[in-house]
């Protein structure tokens, strides 16, 4: 009885520490200095023996001779390589039972589906992915709104980088639909919005207050100025709803409001194409509804065959995780392979890559595959850092190591694209959130562990608890206390040194 009370107390304390950790450190304005043998900034030349200073979660300086503030914690690893965190431009992982049934669901938000405890986020952190855009709904007509998160924290709020980061529109085929019904449903969704808004205008003219009553029923404060005011329809759609300004904003149904925001260019669009034939529909939807400036195409299958149209429309793209498209020559039956990023590179289309798997074939692997197929190394690295950051309108925050950007830094055991390289430390907004030497799971995967054969996939029973890696590593503190570098090189780090001779 006594023991169990004690354990409960300990558990509560541990939980409290976890909950309070991330915001507390951010608020305290902690300074951290990272010294690495090589800093790959992804913004200009690499720096040998570089120093990165992070204050208040932001990088304040990067350079070879940058002075470290006297009161900063120091993470000094001359044997490691500093690299910006990878940016995942599009993912439909990390959620628990996301919506895929309602056809038109702009009112749904992935923040209600994201499962912070999902192994996906743990794997992402381990693989050095520090920014993830979660967008679900490839099997809808209009999916819900997405969210950009960092893979650390135990609540959605802690993880949030940006909420309502975009909305999924699907020109591809949802299961059970034909091309025609999918196209029709997509056109109808916009037609419905138009008819709905026109009816609102008419009702307001006629003095009907049903919309107002509905708004009050939904709990909106209709006396608030922003809800009272009307506003003319913005955006560059080929259609307009006249006199929308006479409708108080608050009276527009929450179910339709995200679609209106999308049309007005205030909500980025992730338009999913499953094949080249669906690109035509996608471009039509973009043209009709004036979405050209806010749309990113999410491509699957043979969509790359429409690369010319995509290039002409000047749209950025997020490529399928399968970088090499394989098809059969219809007459000879021989396999033809096409390296998809190469196609878009030739047409000067901006492209971002997606992870193939969350861990072993994460973004580094995809960039490496691009190099294997002849893409310039710089372009390959950009496609997993800078370009996705720009596509997500986070270009000023992530994607490179520059003063003013978020303090997201990876310390790698070698070149980012070498097969033996592993992520040793992850610093996220100035907090050390991952230390490989304390990662129990990676130890199990690498070295094996006596375990129950009947355990289900992914759920390896360990004594160390699920959130072990989320605890604050005391590395920084130790360094600070010792006042000197006393890191004996670890055994497996030695082994990792071999790397690629070519790199």
């Amino acid at each position: 009885m006594k023991t169990s009370m004690f354990t409960n107390l300990a558990r509560f304390c541990a939980l409290a520490a976890l909950v309070s950790f991330a915001p507390a450190l951010q608020a305290s304005g902690g300074k951290i200095v990272i010294k690495a043998g090589r800093v790959i900034t992804q913004a200009g030349a690499d720096i040998q023996n570089g120093v990165i200073v992070i204050e208040n979660g932001r990088i304040s300086a990067v350079g070879p001779d940058t002075k470290a503030p006297w009161d900063a914690d120091v993470l000094e690893h001359p044997e490691l390589v500093a690299f910006p965190g990878y940016v995942e431009a599009h993912s439909n992982r990390g959620m628990d039972r996301p919506n895929e049934n309602i056809e038109v669901a702009p009112f749904l938000d992935v923040r209600d589906s994201i499962d912070p405890i999902s192994f996906y986020f743990e794997d992402s952190l381990r693989a050095g992915v520090t920014t993830i855009n979660i967008q679900q709904g490839n099997s809808c007509v209009i999916g819900g709104q997405g969210m950009i998160v960092k893979p650390f924290g135990i609540t959605i709020e802690q993880m949030a980088v940006r909420t309502q980061s975009g909305i999924k529109v699907v020109a591809g085929l949802r299961p059970g639909a034909s091309r025609a019904t999918q196209a029709q449903a997509l056109r109808r969704a916009f037609g419905d919005l138009r008819r709905y808004l026109e009816k609102l205008v008419q009702d307001t003219r006629d003095g009907k207050d049903s919309a107002r009553r509905e708004a009050l029923f939904q709990g909106k404060d209709m006396d608030k100025d922003e809800n009272k005011k009307g506003r003319a329809m913005e955006g560059s759609a080929t259609w307009k709803v006249k006199d929308l300004e006479i409708v108080p904003r608050g009276e527009i149904d929450d179910k339709q409001e995200p679609l209106l925001r999308m049309i007005e260019g205030k909500l980025p669009v992730f338009l999913y194409c499953d094949s080249a034939t669906s690109v035509g529909l996608a471009l039509e939807v973009i043209r009709e509804n004036g979405l050209a400036a806010t749309t990113t195409l999410v491509l699957e299958g043979d969509s790359w065959k429409a690369a010319d149209q995509i290039a002409a429309a000047n749209l950025p793209v997020i490529l399928s995780p399968n970088l090499v498209y394989t098809e059969r020559e219809p007459v000879t039956g021989k396999e033809i392979q096409t390296f998809v990023p190469g196609v878009f590179d030739k047409k000067n289309v901006r492209f971002a890559l997606q992870s193939l798997t969350p861990s072993a074939q994460s973004l580094w692997f995809q960039a490496a595959t691009c190099v294997a197929w002849g893409l310039e190394r710089k372009k390959a690295l950009d496609a997993v850092t800078r370009t996705p950051a720009e596509i997500l309108k986070l270009g000023k925050r992530v994607g490179s190591l520059e003063a003013g950007k978020d303090g997201n830094v990876l310390l790698l055991s070698g070149d980012p694209l070498a097969v033996k390289t592993s992520v040793q430390y992850v610093v996220l907004e100035g907090n050390l959130v991952y230390d490989r030497s304390k990662d129990v799971r990676v130890k199990h995967l690498l070295e094996g562990v006596e375990q129950n054969n009947a355990a289900p996939t992914g759920a390896q029973a360990t004594d160390d608890g699920d959130d072990d890696h989320k605890k604050v590593p005391d590395e920084i503190q130790k360094k600070h206390d010792a006042g000197e570098k006393k890191d004996e090189p670890k055994k497996d780090e030695d082994k990792h040194d071999h790397g690629g001779k070519k790199d």
Binding site: A368, V419, H498, K502
Partner: protein, 413 residues
């Protein structure tokens, strides 16, 4: 009448001969010039040259050589990769399911040289493979070592027919079977239905085959092949994923050796031994070779087994001969060269990783005199790379099989 018949016979004999003479006709000589020549035979060369003469390797030397249009330049050249568990077959159609043991059946009788899976293998740098029937039977039959390119004829591509006697221990051979009682009898109401039953089938086969030495009346279909395996004339290649199945295989081998009435000298290769890392000392003790399955992202493999990523490194350290396998996958993430890369992530060094996809599997399959390393007189199976082999940043850009250029590095860049 008779004369014309003889003439006809001569004619057919001639046409049958024709392709063979074509195959033996002298081929173009290739000179492969590379910044790194990884021979898998003890030494690696910087700036080396491999000369292909006919279907064989004529010379391996340091220094570059320009032989005009017949020169193929690349960053690195290695021997053609060997996959000891390629798993290309005609699916269930390759398995005779009327019996649990079909040791006398040959997988080559069901293979098609026109299957495009071979092209994909060759294109990914795998030039020599062990093809076996799917492991639905306890003793599946005779597997063959084949080249993945060349004339579209299984006979001509065969390096070694009846290379190993293939079988399985574990849940796979009993999957789907159910006991005869309590239900209407059907095709699946047969034994074995458990792991124990599978093991019993193995032991029964060996004891019966041994008994047939003295009493020919006890011989059964395939007992000759089982005897050959017992005597070590035919390598035993047994699929066993989990520790318990690996143990069963090792103890079976030791029983065959120790039991006086058997008096065996079997050679054992355990395929897909995901959990070999758990008890490597058993494998050392019993001189067993291991073929590892593809590295799983989360450690979980078939049959509920868990494979740690340092398995290859650990086994090599203990002195267990290992080979890596991609189980037929040729995708960028799953190809055999990437499996070598993953093994390196787990701590294996480059030379050992190279051996594990070339000379080691060649030895296990008994074809090391022909393939598995770049040495003068061996088959001219070469892989040309655009970077350091086994890195994710490199790709196979050229392949030569038996001296013939299968993938041309000059056209595909």
């Amino acid at each position: 009448m008779n004369l014309s018949l003889i003439a006809l016979l001569c004619c057919t004999a001639q046409t049958a001969q024709q392709p063979k003479t074509q195959g033996d006709a002298p081929r173009k000589n290739w000179v492969v010039s590379a910044e790194r020549v990884y021979t898998a035979a003890g030494r690696s060369l910087e700036h080396g040259t491999v000369v292909v003469q006919g279907a064989k390797i004529g010379m391996v030397s340091s220094g570059s050589e320009d032989n005009g249009p017949e020169t193929l330049a690349c960053y690195a050249v290695t021997p053609g990769l060997v996959d000891a568990s390629v798993r290309i077959n005609s699916g269930a159609l390759s398995v005779e399911q009327s019996r649990e043991e079909t040791p006398e059946l040959r997988v080559t009788d069901t293979l098609s040289a026109y299957d495009i899976a071979w092209d994909a293998q060759a294109g990914s740098g795998v030039t020599c493979v062990l093809a076996a029937a799917p492991d639905l039977n306890v003793i599946g039959g005779l597997a063959a070592v084949l080249k993945t390119a060349g004339e579209p004829s299984i006979e001509k591509r065969t390096v070694k027919n009846d290379a190993v006697l293939r079988g399985a221990i574990g849940s796979q051979p009993s999957r789907g079977n159910h006991p005869a009682f309590g239900r209407p009898t059907d095709f699946y109401s047969r034994r074995p239905t458990t792991r124990m039953g599978v093991e019993w089938e193995w032991r029964k086969s060996f004891y019966e085959a041994a008994a047939s030495r003295k009493d020919p009346a006890r011989a059964f279909k395939g007992s000759t092949q089982v005897l050959a395996a017992l005597d070590g004339k035919l390598t035993l290649d047994i699929q066993a994923w989990t520790t318990q199945d690996i143990r069963t295989a090792v103890f079976l081998k030791e029983e065959l050796e120790k039991e006086p009435q058997l008096g065996g000298k079997p050679r054992l290769v355990i395929d897909a031994a995901a959990e070999a890392w758990k008890e490597p000392e058993l494998l050392v003790r019993s001189h067993t070779s291991i073929v590892l399955p593809p590295f799983p992202e989360d450690g979980r493999t078939d049959d509920g087994a868990f494979m740690a990523w340092n398995t290859a490194a650990l086994l090599v350290e203990q002195g267990v001969p290992i080979a890596l396998s991609a189980h037929g996958d040729t995708s960028p993430a799953g190809r055999l060269s990437m499996q070598a890369g993953y093994a390196m992530q787990g701590g294996l060094d480059f030379d050992q990783a190279l051996a594990a996809v070339t000379i080691n599997p060649a030895r296990m399959l008994g074809v090391e005199d022909r393939v598995g390393s770049l040495e003068v007189g061996k088959d001219a199976d070469l892989v040309l790379w655009n970077g350091e082999p086994f890195q994710a940043t490199s790709r196979v850009i050229g392949v030569i099989v038996d001296g013939a250029l299968v993938l041309d590095p000059r056209t595909k860049q």
